[in-house]
Amino acid sequence: MKAVCYMGVEKMTVETVPDPTILNPRDAIVKITSTCICGSDLHLYNGFVPTMEQGDIMGHEFMGEIVEVGAGIKPENLKVGDRVVVPFTIACGNCFFCKRELWSCCNNSNPNYWIAEQMMGFSPSGLFGYTHMMGGYAGGQAQYARVPYADVGPLKVPEGIPDEKLIFLSDIFPTGYFGAVNADIEPGDTVAIWGCGPVGQFAIRSAFMLGAERVIAIDRFDYRLRMAESAGAQTINYEDVDDVVQTLKDLTGNIGPDRCIDAVGMEAHGHGLIHFMDRVKQKARIETDRPFVLRQAIQACRKGGTVSVPGVYAGFDDKIPLGAFMNKGLAMKGGQTHMMRFMKPLLEKIQKNEIDPSFVISHKVPISKAPEMYKVFRDKQDNCTKVVLDPWADGAIAA
C-alpha cells in the first residue's frame, strides 16, 4: 500500500509498504477513504517531538471502511463493512482511566509506556503515527491502517454523509470542543482563543455552543482571522498590536478574558527577546517547546479564571509565569482529547446540521501530494488551513 513516511526532519515521502495485518485479537484493519494532515503533525515534520524514527508511517486523522476484524471482536461491536471514523487516541476500554472516561489516559494502550514515563511521570494512551514515545503505532496517512482495540475507538457512522463532514471527528473537532469544555465556560463569559488554525476554529465554534457571550480570537494570518470572524468571533492580529495582553485587558473592561484557550502549543510565534530565547533554546534542544502563548494566556486571564490547553506541548518549558497562575487563583486544564466522550454527541450535532465541519478544508489532494502539502501547511502558503488527502486518487489500486 501507499503510506506517508517520516524519513527525517522536513522529509516526508510516500512509500510503498506492506499492507497492515491483524497482530492482536482486538485489532481491525480499516481501508482508508479520507485522511488529513494535522497541525500537530507539523511538530513532527519540524523535528521537535522526540522519538520519531525513520520509516514511521504518519497520520492520526482518518476514516474508512472495516475490511478485517480480529478474533476477539464481537460482531455486534464491529464488523467488516462498517463505515467508521477512527479517533487518534487508542484506548483499551477497561482500565482505571477508560472506566472513568479519561480515554486519552488509557493505561494499557501504549506499548512504549516506559519511554513517555521518563518524561512525564506516567504515559498517556497510545496514539496513531505520533512518535515511539506514544506507542509507535503506524499512522493513517496510508491506504490501510491497523486499529488496535477496534471495538472501543472507531465510531460507526451512517452512509449518506460525505467524508468531508465526518473526517474531523477523528481529532480536531472533538479537540477544539474539548478545549472549550476544559475552559469551564459559564454564561456571559468572554473567551480568548490563541491560534486560528483548525483546532482554534473548532474551539471558537464550540465556545459559542457552550454558552460563551464573546470570543476573541488571536492569530497573525488574515485569512484565518476572517474565518474566525465568520463564526462570530472578534479578532486580534497580534502583529498589529503592541501587546496582546494589554489589548485583551482594554477589550474586557480591564477584567481580562474569563477563559483563555491555548490552541497553538509548542511552536508559538511571537516577538521580543523572550521569544528569541525560546527559539534558540528549542533549536539547541535545551527547551522542547516555545510556550509564548501559554505565558500570554496565564498573564491575560482574569483572576479566578481558567486556562485550557488543547495545544500540544512535548516536554519542558521555561519562564512559565507560575506566580501569576498561583496568585491570580487560576485553574489550568489540558490533555489529549478524551475522544470517545465527544465523538458521538458531536456526530449528532453534524447530523442535525448544527455545524458543518467541512468549512475548515482548504485543500483536497491525492496522497502523492502529501510531502509538499506538509510544507504548504507549515508555511501557511496558499491560504492553507486544512489538508485532506485521498489515499486512492491517481488511479492507485488496492493491493
Binding site: 520509516g55 483499551c92 506507542g135
Partner: protein, 257 residues
C-alpha cells in the same frame, strides 16, 4: 503496611547495617581525623592533609558494598477481582506470558515448578521453585530449591482496592547469585530488576484488563535506518533470547515495528 512492603524496608535496613563494615568505619574515622588535624595546622601541608583526609572519609562513607543479592518490589492496580488475579498468577505457567525475562515455567506438582529465565546475552538460567506459603485469593510466596542456578525468593499479594478500583497486586522478588553462571544473571539484574518488574506487571494489567498485550511488532513501516537498529538493540524492554546472534537481533529489531 502490607507484608511485601514491610519485607523490603526490612531488607534495606539490613543492607545498611551490613554495609557499614570495619573497613568503611576505618576510612571514615581515620580520614576525618586526618582532615581535622590538617585544618588545625593552617599551612600548605595542612591544606593537603585536610583535603586528602576529607576525600578518604567521603569515599569511606559513600562507598557501595558489593551486594550479592538484588531485590525488586512494586505494585500495580488492576481492574479485576483479587480472585481473578490470584487464579491467573497461581497458574504459574501463565507467568511467562507477561514476564519478559521468563522463558518458561513448568509445573511439576502442586508446590514445585521448574523455571527458565533469560540471562545476560541470552543465556538460560534455571531454577526449581517451591511454594512456601499461600492463602487463596490473598498471597503466594515461593523460593528456589538447592541445586538452582540462582536463589530466588518471591512473594505476591492480592488485595481488594477501595471504591471499586479493582485489585492492588504487590510483588517482591529477590535474587541471590550462587556460584557459577547464576552470578552474572543476578548482577545484571541489579539495576534492571525493578524496571523489568514494573514492565512485567504493566503487561499483566493489560492482559487482565484488555485480554491482550499491546504491541506494534510486525506492523508496516518504511525503511528503517542504522540509528533505529542500534537503539532497538539496547531496548531494555526486549531481552535478547537464548541462542541468538547479535547481528541477527540487530537486523530483526531494526524492522520489528
Amino acid at each position: 503496611m502490607d507484608e511485601v512492603a514491610r519485607i523490603r524496608i526490612g531488607d534495606a535496613r539490613g543492607g545498611n547495617s551490613r554495609s557499614m563494615d570495619a573497613q568503611r568505619w576505618g576510612a571514615l574515622i581515620g580520614g576525618s581525623a586526618l582532615a581535622i588535624y590538617g585544618i588545625t595546622r593552617r599551612s600548605p601541608l595542612g591544606v593537603a592533609l585536610a583535603t586528602g583526609g576529607g576525600a578518604i572519609a567521603l569515599l569511606g562513607s559513600t562507598q557501595k558494598t558489593r551486594s550479592q543479592s538484588t531485590s525488586a518490589w512494586t505494585s500495580v492496580l488492576i481492574n479485576c477481582s483479587p480472585q481473578e488475579a490470584y487464579k491467573f498468577w497461581r497458574g504459574l505457567e501463565n507467568l511467562p506470558r507477561f514476564m519478559n525475562r521468563l522463558h518458561s515455567v513448568t509445573v511439576l506438582d502442586n508446590r514445585r515448578s521448574q523455571w527458565v529465565a533469560i540471562g545476560p546475552i541470552g543465556r538460560e538460567i534455571r531454577w526449581e521453585a517451591e511454594i512456601t506459603e499461600e492463602r487463596e485469593n490473598e498471597y503466594i510466596a515461593w523460593r528456589s530449591l538447592p541445586g538452582s542456578d540462582v536463589e530466588v525468593d518471591g512473594r505476591v499479594e492480592f488485595r481488594e482496592a477501595p471504591a471499586d478500583r479493582g485489585t492492588l497486586i504487590s510483588a517482591r522478588m529477590q535474587f541471590r547469585a550462587v556460584a557459577g553462571k547464576g552470578s552474572a544473571f543476578a548482577n545484571s539484574l541489579n539495576k534492571a530488576a525493578s524496571f523489568a518488574m514494573r514492565q512485567d506487571l504493566r503487561r499483566l494489567a493489560a492482559l487482565m484488563e484488555s485480554g491482550e498485550i499491546p504491541t506494534t511488532e510486525g506492523q508496516s513501516h518504511g525503511a528503517r535506518d542504522f540509528v533505529t537498529g542500534v537503539m532497538r538493540l539496547a531496548d531494555p524492554t526486549r531481552p535478547i533470547r537464548p541462542g541468538s546472534q547479535l547481528k541477527e537481533v540487530y537486523e530483526t529489531r531494526k524492522g520489528i515495528a
